[in-house]
């Protein structure tokens, strides 16, 4: 009976993952087709796969140079933040954990604001903001990690407090920069709200390897994360190298977050709510929760960004506004529909 049950669960998991993969592909095509210029789906396919056909020359530029990098980037950031959030929630055993909990976002915001205010540019100038954001994100996690460390151990409460303290410090510096920014204030505020306005293939090339690497590494640790949910003492007695798992997962979740934030600003909500949403659907087992959060995060952010592009044309809304405005009611709906109260 147990084998059957196990088999059924495996099939159900396979079905959920397959639906999400199909959903992701459809989302890609849909998002490429929708916009200020509507491009028929069949034309999108033909352009993507270089099939012969006739269409306006500008379509190809819109698809390949404008929409494709943007859709890929929103998918990357969505899946990355969802996986990083899921991993943080498992490590902290806390439903309020998100990728930004250790102050990475505040550090990145400071780096980006500094680049904007000082007008730093390296040659082209385009890269300065994401570069500074990335550097300060990594600096933040380096500081938090080393301040929280006691001997060879990394107590999670220390980590949390150090993260909050360093995050607050950088937030204050961001406020200071905003205060003295003058004309650049608008750029800072826009960056802080998060969005994919400036998506280019360059951004994709920077973010892709970092985010994909981070996701793959964390997926390898799904079983360890399950065991860590039992508490550190249980995990140790079950043969898990708790400190090692914490370090690896923390480092790679931070790497994902730093990469995501540096190319898209601070998009809230995704890293917190996508793991919760999927937990309601597939349960707490990270072996299915992590990959399904990854896929659903990508789908979610692709559509949120598409909405951000089209909802009040020709003006674009910051995607962070949309994610929270639509995501929150959707999540509350799931929360109310859920029959059980236990767990999170």
């Amino acid at each position: 009976m147990q084998e059957n049950k196990n088999f059924r669960i495996k099939r159900l998991r396979g079905f959920i993952l397959l639906s999400l993969i199909i959903g992701l592909i459809l989302s890609f095509v849909g998002a490429l087709s929708i916009g200020s210029v509507k491009i028929p789906v069949d034309v999108v396919f033909k352009i993507l796969f270089n099939f012969p056909g006739s269409w306006q020359e500008s379509y190809k530029i819109i698809i390949i140079e404008v929409r494709l990098p943007r859709v890929i980037l929103s998918a990357l950031v969505g899946s990355g933040l969802a996986v990083a959030g899921c991993a943080m929630q498992a490590l902290f055993r806390n439903p309020l954990a998100s990728p930004y909990i250790l102050g990475i976002s505040s550090g990145a915001a400071f780096g980006a604001s500094l680049a904007i205010v000082l007008g730093i540019s390296f040659g082209t100038g385009i890269f300065a903001v994401p570069f500074m954001a990335f550097v300060f994100a990594l600096l933040t996690i380096f500081l938090v990690y080393n301040i929280a460390k006691v001997g060879g151990r990394l107590p999670m409460e220390n980590l949390l407090l150090a993260g909050i303290a360093i995050g607050s410090f950088f937030s204050a510096q961001v406020s200071l920069l905003k205060y003295i920014a003058g004309e650049e204030l608008r750029s800072i505020v826009f960056w802080l709200m998060g969005g994919f306005w400036v998506s280019s293939w360059d951004n994709v090339i920077i973010a892709f390897p970092l985010i994909v690497l981070g996701i793959v590494v964390i997926l390898f640790f799904s079983r360890d994360l399950n065991i860590m949910l039992m508490g550190e003492e249980h995990a140790l007695s079950l043969g898990t190298e708790v400190e090692y798992v914490k370090k690896i997962v923390l480092v790679f979740a931070s790497l994902i977050t730093a990469a995501a934030v540096s190319v898209s600003g601070i998009i809230g909500f995704v890293g917190l709510i996508i793991p919760h949403t999927m937990r309601i659907v597939v349960g707490p087992d990270n072996r299915i929760l992590l990959p399904s959060s990854c896929l659903f995060g990508a789908i979610f952010l692709i559509w949120m960004d598409t909405l951000a592009r089209v909802v009040i044309q020709p003006i674009e809304l910051p995607v962070g506004i949309i994610t929270a405005s639509l995501g929150a009611p959707f999540f509350l709906y799931l929360l109310r529909r859920r029959k059980r109260i236990t767990g999170w």
Binding site: K5, R223, L229, T240
Partner: protein
């Protein structure tokens, strides 16, 4: 498998918690560790499976110092039922028990039919198979304790450490768990170390008892040798009456008064 503890000392910062603890436990034996709160019972258990690293001394299983073993190798030999088993996450009982296979699996290995068989066997022994599909946060305290024991058995350990496995349970479930533990010692030939607060139950189920007082071994021996009026007064600061009960072949220890 024989468990040897040699001269263990442990400090929290500069406070000495354990001092020169030495004892051995044989295959099939149940050793009880008794003592008042703060005597170092749980700390001692944590030192045995290296959740805590003692400042001095060694733990030897099957001729190997566990300091030289990896965490997984330790977990293959030593199963643990910790004191606090609150699990807030709605995993199924079967998922929880299968986690006991973790020390036998590499990072890329998947659960095989053999692992499932081992988990099912452990659940039969602990009478939890019927709970397999239930969620861990929905079953009773006694059931949960048996599930955690099943998880520990799924590790296929030779040594089992239990930290107050019967606290929070009613008297019926206390006996049930202790009968199960005795069965594991006799039939499965496990080496068992049991921390307990209950003098009567410990005297009934343990083959030998260690009394801990302020981090040191006060006395060792069979329940009858160790649980005397004088020893109990000395360690627990209470006066007791002790009767021998022929029906259960156990001591009946009745607290009379606390010593101020």
């Amino acid at each position: 498998m024989k468990l040897k503890i040699r001269d263990i000392c442990f400090y929290y910062d500069s406070t000495k918690v354990l001092e020169n603890i030495t004892f051995e436990v044989s295959e099939g034996e149940i050793l009880g560790i008794l003592g008042p709160n703060g005597a170092g019972k749980t700390t001692l258990l944590r030192c045995i499976n290296r959740v805590l690293k003692p400042k001095k001394g060694s733990v030897v299983i099957d001729g190997a110092n566990i300091r030289e073993l990896t965490r997984k190798e330790i977990a293959k030999n030593i199963g643990v039922v910790p004191q606090n088993s609150t699990i807030h996450f709605p995993f199924t009982v079967f998922d929880i028990v299968l986690m006991g296979r973790n020390p036998h699996l590499g990072r890329l290995d998947r659960i095989t039919l053999k692992d499932i068989e081992i988990a099912k066997k452990a659940m039969k022994v602990t009478n939890t198979l019927h709970l397999a599909d239930r969620l861990i946060d929905e079953i009773s305290g006694g059931e949960k304790q048996r599930v955690i024991i099943a998880r520990a058995l799924t590790q296929e350990p030779k040594i089992l450490l239990l930290d107050e496995p019967t606290s929070h349970l009613d008297i019926n479930h206390q006996l049930e768990i202790l009968e199960l533990i005795r069965k594991l010692a006799i039939k499965n030939r496990l080496t068992i170390v049991l921390v307990s607060h209950d003098l009567n139950l410990a005297s009934r189920y343990c083959d030998r008892i260690i009394l801990l007082k302020e981090g040191k071994i006060h006395s060792v021996g069979t329940p009858k040798e160790v649980l005397t009026k004088d020893n109990i007064r000395d360690v627990f600061k209470i006066n007791v009456e002790i009767n021998y009960d022929e029906r259960t072949d156990t001591l009946n220890i009745v607290p009379v008064s606390a010593i101020k």
